[in-house]
Amino acid sequence: MKKLSARRRHPLAAVVVLLLALAATGGLYTAFAPADKAQADTSAQSLAIDEGKKLYAVGCASCHGTGGEGTTDGPSLVGVGAAAVDFQVGTGRMPAQQPGAQIPAKKVIYSQAEIDQLAAFVAALGAGPSVPTEEQYSPEGADIAEGGELFRTNCAQCHNFTGKGGALTNGKYAPTLEDVDPKHIYEAMQTGPQNMPSFPDTTLTEKNKQDIIAYLDVVNSDDSASPGGLELGGLGPVSEGLFGWIFGLGGLIAVAVWVAARTAKAKKS
C-alpha cells in the first residue's frame, strides 16, 4: 500500500497507454463470473464514475469493450462489482501485460484513488460485490483455530497448508498468499478472480472469511513463527528431502572424507 500512495501523483497516463498497447496484442483469458451480491451501488458519486469512465476508456476498453460488455480478449465486467476491480487492479493483475495461462500479480500502476474511480465506474455497469470495509476484513477478534479448519476445507487444496501456493492444470497455479493485503484476500474469496472459484457470503460468511484471514495472519506472514527452525519453503517433503540429501547427507559425506583422509605427511619426497 505504501508503494501505491508513493505513486499517487505520478503522471502515468503514457505508461498505461504503452502497456495496454502491448497487452492488446494478445488475447486475455481472464473471466469473471457474475458475483452474487445484489447490492446496487448506484449511490456512488457520479463524479467518480465519470473519472473512472475516462480511465476505463484508456486502460480497459480495448479488451473489455467500451461499455464493459466484454470482447474476445476479455470478459464482460457487467455485475463483477467494485470488489473485483479493486482486487484485479489493486494487485496489479489488471491491466494485463500479455496473454498466458494465467495473469500474474505485478507492480500496481494505478493509484488507489484511480482504482476507486475505476471501481465506481464498473460497479455502475451492474450490481456486484462492493469493496469490503476494514471492519469486514480485519483479523481482529477472529477465531484463528476455526479459520485454520476453514482454510484446510476451502483453500489449502490449491494454496497449500500455509498458503505457499500450488500448481493447477496446464501451467495455471494458485499463487502464494504471502504478503497479500487482507483486503485483497477478502475480495478474492468474494469475487473468485480468474480460475479461482468464489466463496460468496452465502456459503462462506463474513465471519468465516475473517477467521481465514486471521489464520493466515498467524501462519503466513513475515514474522510467522516456525518453531522447528528453517521453514524450507513450507513445501513439505520435497524440500525436506532435498535439504536432507544436500545438507544432511552431503555434510556427513564431507565429514567422512575428513575422517578417512590421510594425514599430511612431514615431507613430500
Binding site: G192, P197, S198, T203, T205, D223, A225, T263
Partner: protein, 353 residues
Amino acid sequence: MSSQDTPEENLPAERAADEHGAVRVADEKDPFADPGLPPHEHRIQDIDERAAKRSERAVAFLFTLSMLATIGFIAAFVAIPKDEIVYIFPLGHISGLNFALGMTLGLALFCIGAGAVHWARTLMSDVEITDERHPIAAEPEVKAKVLADFKEGAQESGLGRRKLIRNTMFGALTLVPLSGIVLLRDLGPLPEDKLRHTLWSKGKLLVNMNTNEPLRPADVVVGSLTFAMPEGLEEHDHDFQNEIAKAALMIVRLQPDDIKDKQELAWSYEGIVAYSKICTHVGCPISLYEQQTHHVLCPCHQSTFDLSDGARVIFGPAGHALPQLRIGVNDEGYLEALSDFEEPVGPAFWERG
C-alpha cells in the same frame, strides 16, 4: 551345469600371489607387477614433538568444548521457556529452546567425535598393516567330513526310511501356521457392500460444511465452490471420519448451457451440480476447481476431471468419472439429495464392476 560354466581360458588369469608388503622391483617379465606397499612416511606429529603437543592440545580442547556444550544444554533446558520464539538470521522466527538444545547437544556430540578422530589421525600410529584373507569355502576334506556326518545323522534319524513319520511331520508343520492366519480374521469385518453406500439418501439436505446450515439454490452462485455433507452428520459423531470419507460433496453451479453431459444436466438443479469430493483414483479429496475451465484437479496425483462433461477424466491416473449425486429442491426450498450415489464413490476395487 558344467555347460553353463565359462571355460577357464575366458576368465582372467589369477594374479600370482605376491609377497604382500614386501617391496619388489619390477621384474623383466611383468612390467606391471605389484611393487608392494610403499614405505611408510612420517607425519609431522611423528617427528616433531611440538606438533604432537599441538595435536594433543587440540584434542583436549575439543573434549573440553564438548563438556561445556553439555553444561550449556542443561542450562538451556532449564532457563529457556519452551514457548519463546526468537528471530535468528537466516533461520527466521524459531523456537529459542529447540535451537539452543540442538546446537549444544550437537556440539557436545560432534566435539567428542572430532576429538577422537583428530587423535586417531594425528597421534595414533598410521602405519598400514596387511592382513591375509583366507578362502571362505571349506577344504575338500572338511566338506567330506561334514557331508559324511550329515549322512550318518540323517540315517540315524531314519527320516528317509520311515516315510510315515516324515509325511505326518510335514503335514503337521504345514497345518500349524493356519492357526496364525485364522487368528487374523478378526482384524476387520468383511467388505460386503460397505463401499457401495454412503450416508446420502433421498430427502437428505445438503448441509454447508462452513456454516453447518442447509443450502438453498440461491446460495450457490455460478463460479463458486461449496462443500457439503449430509444432514444429520456432526463433526463430533464417532463415525464422522468414516462417513465423511465417503459422503464428502463438492457443489458448483454452471450455466445450464455449459453442461455437455445429458445425465449431468438431468441430475442437476438449475445448473447446480453435486459431485463426490473423493477422487476415483485412490481417494484424495479432490477439489482444485478451476471455475473458468470447469476442470477439477486432484492435488495428489493430478487426475483432472471436467465438471461440465459428466466429470469425465481428461488427464491423469484416475480410471473413471467422479460419481454425481442427484439433487433437487424440497418443499421448503432447500437443496436435497434425490438418492444415494448410483455407483461406489472413491477408488475402484475388484468387486466394483
